[in-house]
Every structure is written in C-alpha cells, then in structure tokens.
Point group: D2
C-alpha cells in the first residue's frame, strides 16, 4: 500500500477484516506499506500490522513478494504509481478520482490493460448493500424506464475560514476540490445505477478564496501552519451540474463542502416509470423504495433495512436489523478485488470506469470554464 492517511486506514482495516467475513481464494497479506516520511510510515506499519515498510514506493514495485499495489496517495501521484505497478505486473487498486485528467486516466487504463493485471478503482459507496440492492432493482426492471436522478454530496468540514489550505484544497495536488473528491462519488453512483452520461452543464464555486497554510492530520482534521502564512484556494468549494444520460434520463448533481450540518450527506433519489428509490450514506443501511404497482391506498416509500439474508453481502455479516457501517463498503469492494485476482476476472469499478468518470469530471470542469453544455467524451 502506498500512503497511510485516512484512506490508508480504511483500506488497511478492510484487508484485515475481509477474511473474517468472506472466504476468498485470494487472501490479502499486509506485506508492506510505503510513505516518504520514515517516522510516519514506520508508525503506520507498526500500528496497522504491515510486515515491512518502504520510504520510496518504487521499492514496493520492485519487490517480488508484492502482488497488489494499493494507491491511497494524493491524486497527482496516482498515474505514475499505477503505471509503474502495472508495468511490473502488479495488480492495482487506486483511490478515486483515478487521475488528474482524462488523458492521464487513459494512460493508466492502457497500462493496466496492456499488462493484463487486475485493476479496480475504489468507489466504495457502490458496495453499500442498499446500493447494490438498488442496482438489482433497476437492472431487473422494477423501476422501469428511468426518468430522473438527483444526487447531492453535502459536507461541511471546511466551512470555517480558518481551516487551512490542506492538500485537498490545492489544485496541483488534488486536481479539483469538491468535484473530484465527492462529486466523483455521486457521478460514479449515477453511472453504476442509471448509465452513461451524454452531456453536462455546470458551475463551480469557491466561497473562501484565501486560507491559512496547513495540512491534514488525521481523518478530515487539519493543523494550521504556525507562522500565519496564507495561500489562495484554487479548487472548487462546490460544484453543481445538470446532465442528460444516454438513455434520456435527466440528472441533477451537486457537491459541496459548505452545507452546514451535513457531515457526510451523500444522497440520491432515482425516479423511474414504475417506482423510485432513495438512499443516504448517513443512513446507509436503509433503502427507501416506492413501487407504483402497489395497490391504491397502500402506496408509499418503504424504508427497507438492507440487512436481510437476501440483500447483497448482508448474509456474511449479522442477522437482520444489525447494521453495518462505513468500513464495510471497503470490505465488500475488496471481496470483489480478491475474487478478481483469484479468478482472473476484471471486477468493477475498474480503470475503465475511472476513465469514464474522468470524462464526466473533465466535461464538468470544461463546462464551468466555458459556460456551455459540454458533451461527455465516450
């Protein structure tokens, strides 16, 4: 694994916990972790149970005892690492967004496909059982033709103007702000559930344009630079876009870090000819489902706790009504990754999805810049 902050913690936990819940033919072994700061990476290795550590990720790629490279570093490093890993014949898991640009994403896709390695993109929210169940409902036609998807990813962790200019707010490192970080999740869910995007029109806003310097500590916390220096924010605090899907559905999307009171409000509603569904990450075990063919008088959204044996992945955890949490979305994704590695199949979402997602992100950025509708490159 390359990187050891918030996502490093989430991934490491999932590797450790996976074998308890799932029997997979490939079983993860925490062989090595890499990071530039020796003190930091050694501490992470000790704390999380990695057998060894490296201060240069290239060393990981050279090692024969490593089969899978997991990239949880800032976005501007994904491409170099992933391509090198693929060339070395390593399977690759990469955090989202895949790349800094569509061109970079394509190079990454080409690298993994040429190398014939298994590759996945870590859009973990696809793997909430409720979301997987939503996918089953849509694919089986229970909602009929899809007319609408509206999705928001609402957070509030940088609303304080004194929150510092961490890497997630600097374009050269992160590419974009709310767009690549959280809008990326909802557009991936949109592609997963509704289909491919046709075109978009967008706006991107930066409400606080100057902040103290400083860096992330853990989770979504940060320390401010002690010298009082400040810098300009060059990424978006919020992004919103309208979209048409290839299948004619209409999409309305919004991602922001300025929605007070919404700590992690990733929510969507999809309306189809025969029914509708609603989901919210903060209540991630529940799916609300409306079926238009319910008898008159008894029509209403059902609040379904997706913890039953029939719900995806749920049988591997606890009896009905015993909920799971954020970390389980990673475990479920890693289950697919292990199966992919063991069976040589190519699970989703993978770098191909990363390219398609990047095409949407790039269209959104271009639309914000040109103030035009922009077609999404297929």
């Amino acid at each position: 694994m390359v990187g050891y902050k918030f996502m490093g913690k989430a991934h490491t936990h999932a590797y450790r916990d996976l074998p308890f819940y799932f029997d997979t033919d490939a079983v993860p072994v925490l062989q090595a972790i890499a990071g530039r700061d020796e003190t930091g990476v050694r501490g992470a290795a000790d704390k999380w149970g990695f057998a060894s550590y490296e201060t240069d990720w290239r060393r990981l790629i050279e090692r024969d005892d490593i089969d899978l490279i997991d990239i949880v570093t800032p976005n501007n490093t994904h491409a170099e690492i992933a391509i090198a890993a693929a060339k070395a014949g390593k399977h690759v898991l990469c955090e989202k967004p895949l790349a800094m640009s569509l061109e970079e994403a394509r190079r990454m896709q080409h690298a993994v496909e040429s190398a014939g390695v298994v590759h996945m993109l870590c859009h973990n929210y696809r793997f909430a059982p409720a979301v997987q169940f939503a996918k089953q409902l849509i694919d089986s036609g229970r909602l009929g033709r899809i007319y609408h998807m509206r999705a928001q990813y609402l957070q509030d962790w940088i609303m304080d103007p004194d929150f510092p200019l961490v890497w997630r707010l600097r374009k050269e490192v992160t590419g974009s702000g709310a767009l690549g970080d959280i809008a990326a999740h909802i557009l991936d869910l949109a592609r997963f559930l509704v289909g491919e995007f046709h075109n978009v029109v967008s706006t991107m806003e930066t409400f606080i344009r100057n902040r103290p310097l400083g860096e992330m500590t853990s989770g979504l916390q940060a320390d401010v630079d002690v010298n009082g220096a400040t810098g300009d924010v060059d990424v978006d605090d919020a992004a919103a876009f309208l979209a048409h899907f290839e299948n004619g559905a209409l999409g309305v999307f919004e991602a922001t870090r300025f929605a007070a009171g919404n700590r992690n409000g990733n929510r969507f509603e999809i309306n189809g000819e025969k029914g509708s569904i609603r989901w919210n990450l903060e209540d991630m075990n529940w799916l609300e489902v409306y079926l238009a063919d319910d008898e008159a008088g008894l029509q209403g959204f059902r609040r379904i706790n997706c913890t039953e044996e029939v719900h995806p992945y749920a049988a591997n955890y606890w009896p009905a009504g015993h909920i799971i949490g954020y970390e389980h979305t990673f475990i479920n994704l890693f289950k697919e990754l292990m199966d992919g590695i063991a069976k040589g199949t190519n699970p989703q979402p993978n770098f191909s999805d990363g390219v398609k997602n990047q095409a949407v992100l790039e269209a959104v950025e271009l639309s914000a810049a040109t103030r035009q509708w922009v077609s999404v490159v297929q």
Copy 2:
C-alpha cells in the same frame, strides 16, 4: 353549544367549515352558545358567529330552535347537561371523557337511549383519515390476528412547576389528569382499532404536587393568580398501564404531561400476524404500514400519505399530497354526526363507547389505587 374555550373553538370551526367540504342532509346552524360569564360568552358568540347566547345552559335546552346540544364544558358538568338535553329531546354531542365515573356515564347512556336522540362522544382522533384507514386494514384482515398495541400520548405543557393549578389539574372539576384527558384518547383508539379491554394494571404519578393557583386562558396557556396562592395537585401527571384485550392482544399504554419536547405526541403501533401499523398525531396525515407478505428483500414500513382519493374522507379535501390538520378530525366526526341526525342512525363513537371507555378509565384508577390487576367491567 355549552362552553367556549379551546374545545368550543374547535367545535365551532368544524360546524362552520363542514358544509364547505361535505354535502350533508342535516346542516349545522350556529343558533346559540351558552356560558356563565356574559362578557365572555357574548364575545365568543360575536367572534364565532353564533346567532345568540345564553348565560345559563338550561335556557338552551328550553329553546325550541335548538336541535343539538354540544357540551364542551369541564368534565364535572357533562352528565347534568347531557341528561337534561336528552330529556328535552335534543341530540347530544359531548366532549371526552364522557363522565366523572362509570356510574355517571351509564346514567348518561340511559338518558340518551331512552330519549331516542342521536348521541356522540367527541373522540376526534378516530377521524384522522390515516386512523380510519388503519381501521379498514385491520377489519379487512390485512394485519391478521393482533398481538400488540402500544400507544403513548406524550405532552409537556405543564412541566414548568410555575404552571398554575388550572381546572384540568383539579380532581373535582376534571376527574383525573393525564388519564381522562389524554389516556382517554389512546384507549378509545385502542377500542376502535383492536377491541374491548379485558383487564389492566396501572400506575399513576404526580410529579409536581403543589402549584400556584390560576386558570386557563386560551388553548393550553394559563395565567397565574396574582396573589401567589398555591394549591395541591390531586390528579395524575402521568398514567401508565398494561392491558389484555378480549381477543388476546397485549396492550401497553402511557400518557403523560411530563415528556419534554413532545407537544402533542399521540402515537401508536399495532403488530399483527401479517403486518404492523404506526401512527403519530404530529404527523397525522401519514400511516406507516408493514405487510409481512411483501416479497423478501422489499419488506419495510411504507410511509403512506393518507390524502389519496381512496383514503377515508380525503376525497372531500384536496388532491393527494396536500395535507390536512387537526381541525379536520372534528369536521369528519361532525359529518358522521350530521348523517346520524339526518338518517336517525347512531354513529360511533357514542355514549355507549363513552361507558366502555369510562369502564377502562375506572379500572385503571382502581388498579393504581389497589396495586392489583383489575378486570374491566363490560
């Protein structure tokens, strides 16, 4: 109408508004209102549009132009007025609880039945469309055998120790506290939806035992006596009881005026062999319904907005999704009252229900006093 405070307002409004929504063969005319305080009753007559007023309710009963006596006075006056009205051949509507004792209630029932007049008891919450719809579901067997009902009526309007000793807190006037005022509503709903009570065991609590003197002004507000005098509270602040129904269902009931944050939380859940329902007065347009024969994976409580044409009374109001409120429960009840008067039928809930409700109230009081299970007299 006799009385002109909170309930007087609710009833008067319903008489005025009823003809707009419902075509009934009998149509209410606001002929006269009675109250002891001439200034007060004249003001009410003027404000609410009564054609005349009386300072002695006996005058109402003597008048030939009065067909229906509506009793919205404190509980200790119900019997005398209702019996006199019945003897004079007037139809009678009475606020709940019907009487101060089971014996009194029976005399009232005897009076109206002997006189052959139409009589109703104003348990308006039966007439929320969602509750009527719940009744239809249960009667049609959609929930199967009923195992459980749990109901709470939670309020908080007298939690302040400085709230005065108004008539609703004095036993000689009101009979009991939370029990007769609000537990009466949930046990009436229980009888309506589940069936007759077999036996009960209860406890009744008074948390604040001494209060300033004072009286209700409007709504549930009150003024404190200026002289600083205080008095003892001799009714219950809260009452709770377990119950067995005749049909074997188990009931758990609780009413309190000491549930901070619950302004008017009248809520119940009923569990049957084939499904469950939930309702809450503060969200009175919604009924939550669980049907056990829903297909696996799609089982969950449906939140149904009971404003569709198929829902009871709803077609007379607004299109689906346009909610109604508290006052409409009275309008719906009065619709039944007018139909009863026009057709000579005996709508429910009536004085017979009042007697049965009073039997439950009396059993609850007796149980609290004797600390025994008490059978409900049929």
Copy 3:
C-alpha cells in the same frame, strides 16, 4: 372570483374561513363568482356560498358591489382580466404564474400600479408558518451569509401515459408545464428566502410526447376524451436549472411531474455560514434547523413543529403540536391581502414579485432553448 376549479375551491375556502381565525379590518364577502359554463358556475356558487354568479367575467368588473377580483383561471387569461379589473379600480389577487410572458407581466404590474389598487400574487407556500419562520431566521442573520439553496418540486400525477392532454399540458393555455406550475413556486420561495436571481442555465424535458385528449375534472384528476383522439404535449414534464443569486449564493432547482411516489414534494434546503434549514411541503408544519454555534457534540438538525405561539400565524390556530394543513397557507396569505386592502399598503408577494418571477421563468425557458447561461432581467 373568476374561475371555480381546484384553485377556486382553495380560495373560496380561505375567504370563508379567514374571519374565524383572524380579525381583519377588511372582511371578505363572497359576492359573486364568474365562469363561462352557466351550469358549472351556478353549481359552484350554490355549493360554495357565493351570493351571485356571472357567465362573463367582464360583468364582475362592471359591478359596483365588487371590490376585489380574484383570478383563478388558466394562465392565458390572467392578463386581460387583471388589467381590466385594475382599470376599473378593483383590487386584484391573481394565481401564479402571473402571466404568459415577462412583457405581459409588466403590463399587468403597470396596470395595477397605475390604478393604485392592492395586488397580490397567490404564492401561498410562502405562508406556511415554517416558511415564514425560516424567513425570520434568515433575515435576522441566524444563518449568516447564504451559500446554497437546493429546491425540488416533485409530483407524479401525469406519469400514466394515458393521463390526458388537459389544459395544464397545453402551451397556449398554460404557457409552460412543470416550470410555470410548480417550479414557479420554488423560485418564488428562493426569491423570498435567499434573494434575487442573477443568472440561470436550464434544461426542460418532455418524457411523454403524445397523450389522449381530455380535461381536468376536479383536483388533479381528469377525464379522457371518449373518442380516443390524441394530441402532442408542447410543454415540459420536467425543468431543472442551476442559478447564481445576486448575493453570490448557488441555487439548484428541479421541478417534475415524473417523480414516482412524490405526490406533492415541494422541498428545499438552504445552507448558510452559520446554519442550515430544510422544509418539505408534505410535512409542512416542521422546519429542520441546524445551528453551527450549537455546542460540540450537540450539533444536529432540530425538527421544529412550527405550531408554537411564537411562530408566525400559529397563535391564531391551535395549541402547540396541533398541526394545520394546505388550506391554511391560503388563509394566511388572504389575511395579508385583507390587511393590505384595509390599510392601503401593498403586501407581498405582489405583481412586482410576479414580474420578477416571470423574468426568472423566461430566463429558464430561454436558457433551455439556447442552451446558454441567461442573465435574469431585473
């Protein structure tokens, strides 16, 4: 009153019910109702208690006993009636949207202002107590600078392809579809709560392009033409738009009649520097409020039942926790109208708001046609 369908019913009820709840110096009298079909209008007059009827609205305007003209006819008739009424010195209340075009709206505004009559536009949802309370919170600075508003008006009453081509689906009569009918409400709420629009980019969709002929019966129901004839739908089934407000806030709006399970889902969330609010018409008594200065650990959206004495209009109805419904939004608006007439003031929303709303509607339509961002004309 001119017109006697769904809105006619809502307005008539409010005129009748207003004096019960509010003491206004001007008191509505149901003097006359006009409609082209004599049978229909006579029936409405009888049923709703109008003293007389006319089959030509021009007769209403000629009559000396009429002070206020209330226009509840299809949108293509608003201008002619309103202008004639104003010229005759009548006060005017008009249903929304004000006009078929911005130019028409301006002529209407000019007419009423020149005539010096009182004029209001019937955006009744401003008058839910929870919405008025939201306005107070925002105006008092409790939310600080506003960053975001997202609002949806979701319905599903025309999703059946066999639902006929009623007047609300024909451009020559209605001007637009979901846009003018329901998006108009949410953009009016946006102007009320957040401020004036700067520019918009939009898309408008028609999912079902051909329908049987037929007409509205009552409420949102309709009968299909018996001959099986069909016609093309030339208005939008759904409209979505992004917006910048003059004050820098970002708006995301969506209105559709194709959101299965949403009978009347008019909902919004506003995020400010110091807090957020959420509201939903189907639960219209509740306002959810998040205050960022709540102490750590105790931060969360409060669900407030806006039925307390301190909430706007609420003291005139019932005690806390006793909810009101759809019809009360009209009563509250009419209270302001009567006060305006009595005092000669100009209550809001009025024709000036109608013009500004129309400017937004026109910008949205233009943007959908030109696929450009369009500035809203001030």
Copy 4:
C-alpha cells in the same frame, strides 16, 4: 472462548478488530475455543483464527496459556463455567443474561469477587457511542431530574408458527424467552441511564404454544427437525412491565418477538425536567436530543450523528458522518475489558450488574406469575 454460534462470531470479530482501532495495554490473543462438537469447533477455530480448540471447556480452564474465559454458550451453562474459570484465576466475560436465577447470579458474583479476577457482562448496547453520550448528558445534569423512561425491544424472527423450538425457546436451556434475551438489554440500559429499579408489575405472553422441533443454524436462522415432531413452548414470546425507579422515575418496558416489521427495534426515550433523548438500535449512530432551554421557536429534537471526535469512542473510528455498526458495540466493550485487565480495575457492566439485572428479571417473572407488584431485591 466457550461457544461458537452467533455471539461467538460477534466476540471473535471484536477481539480481532480491537487492536486496529485501540491501543490497549492488554491485547487479546485468540488462544483457544471450546465446543462439544469437534467438527463444529474445529471449523470455527479455523475460520476465525483461534490457535487451538478444545471439546471440553474444562480443558480451557486448566490451560496456563489462557487468561480470559469468554462465555458465549446458552444461559444454563454460564454459572458452572464462570465459577470454574474464576476459581482457576481466569478473568471472565459472560454473555447476558448472567444466569438462570438470582441465586445463581449471586454465586457467580461471589466467585469472581473472591477470586479477584476481572469480570464483565456483555451488555454491548451500552457501548454504542450514542448511548454513552446519552449517559454523559444525563450524568452531567443536562436533562435534570428524570421523569420517564420508555423502552421497547421489538423483534419478529419467530412469528412464523413453523419456526422451530430452538434452544432460545426452551426454558431449561434459556431460562426465559424475550425477557432474558432482549428485555434484559433494555433493563440494563435503564439501569445504566436512569438508575436502580424499585418495583415492577408485569405480564408475559406466549402467543404460539406449540412448535416443530429444530435448532438454530447461524445468526437467528434455524432448521426444522425432519421428522415433524413438535414440542411446547415454555418461555415467553413477549414481556411487558411497568416500573418505578429508586429515584422516582416511571418506566414502561416491552420486549417481544412478535412485532412484525421490527427486525431489531431496540429503542428508548427518556424524559427529564430539562430535556429528553431518544435512541433506536436500527439507527444506532443517531441520538435525538431535546433541550428545554433552547430558545422559544427553536425548540425541537436535534438528530445528532454521534460520530464526532467529541463523542465517546468515535475518534478511534472514522471522520464525522462515517457511521459504524453493530459489531463496534462489542469492540468498545472489549476495549474496557482490556483496560480492566491491564489496570486491574473493574469495568462495567460486570457481574454485580448481572446480579442487579437478574433481580429485575426475577421480579418481572414473579410479578407475571403472582399478578402483583413485586419489589426488586437490592
């Protein structure tokens, strides 16, 4: 660990996952697991990562490499194992309910206290961060004097009359039905949050009195005996009781396995002089809090996602808004157990709590049998 079914899985997972999240001085090592069926226990050892297994729990107690005995067997075996373990100087963790009788519980308490070992009782729901936070609020006086607690534990997993007579339905093995299994949880929460019980009055019901023979497989699933034999159910399907607490609060409790649609509905509301709280296991990350001293107009239940750094245990998991699940309640409890072992302190809930809980359970059973109020032995 002794036992390897549903609770065995939950405990094992917590031992494995604990070190990832918490740095404890004592760290669990999965040394050995015991069970009578060699195939079964060997499978569990392999699957869950125990270093060894035994087919007789007595062997565990003899082994020097075992410091802690964790008892997850049916209730009728708890006492013998725990007492033997304590005598051998092993620390003991025991599943709830502690014992089959108050007398047995006392012998167990005596054994662990005489031996000076660390002992805990596995009431894991105390360790939801929201519940711990509720405890902090109450202890700090934020709710003032407590007037009410109402709690329900509602399940529906045995409603099918064909569900077999598993060990959890046989008195000789389990002691009681819903009472010891799930009412035990809510009365433990009551003791934790409100205080000691004074007296109770109860009823216990068995709705389905005869069932096919059969046994639990995994989770809450079961297989029916193939021969079609049946047996009588001699435990309660539901139990309800009223209670007075030592501090004067009034309790209303209900536990049932016949509440259709409630998979795991463990929920409570506590009302105090200055505020109220509500919690529900199925939404276990949320705590609803009402504070009576909030300013007028802004009073309402706040829905708090207890995932902030300031919430108990939450900082060790994920950033705010990233929820945890059922299994984390065990991890948090085990964190306290490890600290207790490392520091020689006696964490709660322990066998002393087990005795007090058992006294309540026994009073409830006695009350149901005698139909009297029963004082809880202290």
